[in-house]
């Protein structure tokens, strides 16, 4: 298997090959644009259809996917995506609608969006939901815009600081930076909670709010969540919840009830929209009553009540002090909303609760099996994920070596080197979809690798050795940025 290289589609090209033969023209011909507007240096590949299909078929077998194996990539919630979602989003009524067609002619789509807003409100305990944001960080940006608009509407313009724990996702400070606010990092305490003393010291009347991921990236539910929220609110700040880890809470804890003011959902994590490969994601945002008037516009609402005989009429409405549009049209409708809607419908309220319970059970089972073999820096009952250190006393094996060796055992590696507060971090999130046999095989492999790190460390340093390609040179890839396989005329590669 090793080192079988598939040429690029450009290398497979041969002049004159083509997929279809054009029939002789039976319409009048017209002149081409002037020569100065034409270019001949675009090296479009020339291949027959069968060659193209075989090329991409082959490439697809190089890939590792959640349909092919266990994928415990921490904080990404790489759960299996049920195939009924694919049926639903290909229903002709969804597939062949256009975002510009009149709302009266797309009532099914609007009904789905309205119900989705209502369901997400019920799941999260919030007063309002927008479906527009394209993905998680876009949802964060929308949320922070609403927080800023809220303070501004009250003439409270001194607030410039956002509090962010050191166990947060990296997108949080990035979203805050987009608005020009200052990030104040709040450390974690030895149990993986927000350090209350540090939080207290940072809380003053210049605080916009706090962005808290709960459970955080250590997989820990904050044991003082109510104190944290109270402290932030007492100084006039708003609470932002990063919903990336909502999978741990479904049907059990509602962030709105805890006192959060705003939270984004990652439909591509919690609600089984395909994830990875660049998207599309989907990042709806829920808000409390005091932010509801600032939601992006438009929202879907019932504009004419129905009755037993007649369905209600759905339409678009604008919140009173809306921050405006976050996206052209209405969010990732078919790719995101319809799949997530199907997933919620298939599970129902009890099923959603099961998801959280099995996700947490699976993570705790794996944590228990690895305890004693791997150092667990924040060692208590975890939520949907946990973090171990990928290093051993007296060994030069690192988290990266363990990750690569896992590929030899046909597992996707966990997230490594994140969160930053754990040295040589391996962040493991099994999700609820995995059975005990799979979890045991993974734990067995992790334990075997720990043994190998003592007896045959060269196996780890050289891993992977059974995959199609061996260890990639990540340093070279990052230092020598060659993103193009050909250079247009007149460009040199120096």
């Amino acid at each position: 298997m090793a080192n079988i290289v598939e040429p690029t589609i450009f290398e497979l090209s041969s002049p004159g090959r083509r997929g279809v033969t054009m029939p002789a023209s039976d319409v009048p011909t017209t002149d081409l644009p002037p020569q100065s507007l034409l270019r001949s240096d675009l090296p479009l590949p020339e291949l027959a259809e069968v060659d193209v299909v075989r090329h991409y078929m082959k490439l697809s077998t190089f890939n590792y996917s959640v349909d092919g194996g266990f994928y415990p990539l921490g904080s990404c919630t790489m759960k299996y995506n049920p195939k009924i979602n694919e049926d639903a989003c290909r229903l002709p009524g969804f597939l062949f609608s256009h975002p510009l067609q009149p709302a009266e002619t797309a009532q099914g789509n609007l009904a789905l969006m309205y119900e989705m807003q209502e369901w997400l409100k019920e799941i999260s305990g919030f007063a309002g939901v927008t479906l527009q944001p394209a993905a998680g960080a876009h949802g964060e940006f929308a949320g922070v815009l609403m927080m800023a608009a809220y303070h501004k509407s009250r003439g409270d313009t001194r607030r410039v600081k956002m509090l962010i724990p050191d166990a947060a996702h990296g997108t949080n400070p990035a979203s805050v930076g987009m608005l020009g606010f200052t990030v104040v990092t709040i450390p974690s305490d030895p149990r993986g909670n927000v350090d209350l003393e540090a939080l207290k010291a940072a809380c003053d009347d210049t605080v916009v709010g706090m962005m808290l991921t709960n459970p955080n990236t250590l997989g820990m539910f904050d044991e003082h969540i109510e104190d944290v929220i109270k402290m932030v609110k007492d100084c006039g700040g708003l609470m932002y919840g990063d919903g990336a880890n909502l999978n741990a809470l479904l049907g059990i804890v509602r962030p709105g009830d805890l006192g959060f003011d705003v939270m984004h959902f990652n439909l591509h994590k919690t609600f089984s929209v395909p994830h990875g490969g660049g998207g599309p994601g989907s990042g709806p945002v829920g808000v409390s009553q005091r932010l509801a008037d600032f939601l992006p516009s438009p929202l879907v609402d019932i504009v004419e009540e129905g009755d037993d005989e007649i369905a209600p009429l759905y339409g678009f409405v604008a919140p009173k002090h809306s921050i405006g549009r976050m996206k052209a049209f209405h969010g990732h409708f078919g790719g995101g909303l319809v799949r997530a809607y199907t997933y919620i419908l298939m599970h129902g309220a009890d099923g959603l609760k099961d998801i959280a319970q099995y996700a947490v059970l699976n993570a705790n089972y794996l944590q228990a099996r690895l305890r004693g073999t791997y150092r667990i820096p924040y060692d208590r009952i975890c939520m949907h994920e946990f973090v171990v250190e990928g290093r051993f006393d007296g060994s030069d094996v690192r988290a990266l070596d363990i990750s690569k060796r896992l590929m030899d055992y046909n597992f996707h590696p966990p997230t490594n080197y994140f969160p930053l507060i754990v040295p040589e971090a391996l962040m493991i999130e099994p999700t609820e979809t995995e059975n005990k046999d799979t979890l045991d095989r993974f734990a067995d492999a992790m334990i075997k690798i720990a043994e190998e790190s003592q007896t045959q460390p060269e196996l780890l340093h050289g891993a992977p050795s059974t995959t199609r390609f061996g260890r990639m040179d990540e340093v070279k890839a990052a230092r020598e940025l060659v993103l193009c396989c050909w250079l247009p005329e007149g460009y040199s590669d120096q």
Binding site: L400, N416, Y417, F418, L420, P423, E474, V475, A478, R479
Partner: protein
């Protein structure tokens, strides 16, 4: 780990040379980051810095980190060659890997070499 006696160290792993005003990241820091692939100095010559202001952004294959001013003062020199050769931070963190030089200011709350070594050992476990 290597921590020269003549330098002072910040908890966030920058070193400061009180004699020359030079600033960089410690051997411990470059080792933790592993292979550094990108460096951007965020300040310019002549700029006045306060302690804790971000002076550079460093990326390795593992993580991206901000580097903070361990001392105050005016930036008298910037190591412009560093962005072309980020690996210098790995190979020579206390020499060719200097980032900026400061003058006319005061060091922040810094540790001596012995104190810094103890601090780093405490973090390893």
């Amino acid at each position: 780990m290597n921590a020269p006696e003549n330098l002072k160290y910040a908890k966030s792993d920058e070193w400061f040379d009180p004699a020359t005003g030079a600033v960089g990241i410690s051997d411990y820091a470059q080792n933790q980051l592993s292979d550094i692939v990108f460096v951007e100095i965020l300040v310019e010559e002549g700029e006045e810095l306060t302690v804790g202001k971000p002076i550079a952004s460093v990326e390795s294959v593992k993580a991206s980190s901000e580097i903070y001013a361990p001392a105050s003062g005016r930036v008298s020199a910037v190591n412009k060659g560093l962005s072309e050769k980020p690996e210098t931070l790995n190979s020579d963190p206390y020499g060719e890997g200097w980032m900026i030089k400061l003058e006319g200011g005061a060091a922040g709350d810094l540790m001596d070499a012995g104190g810094y070594e103890t601090y780093c050992e405490g973090r390893a476990h």
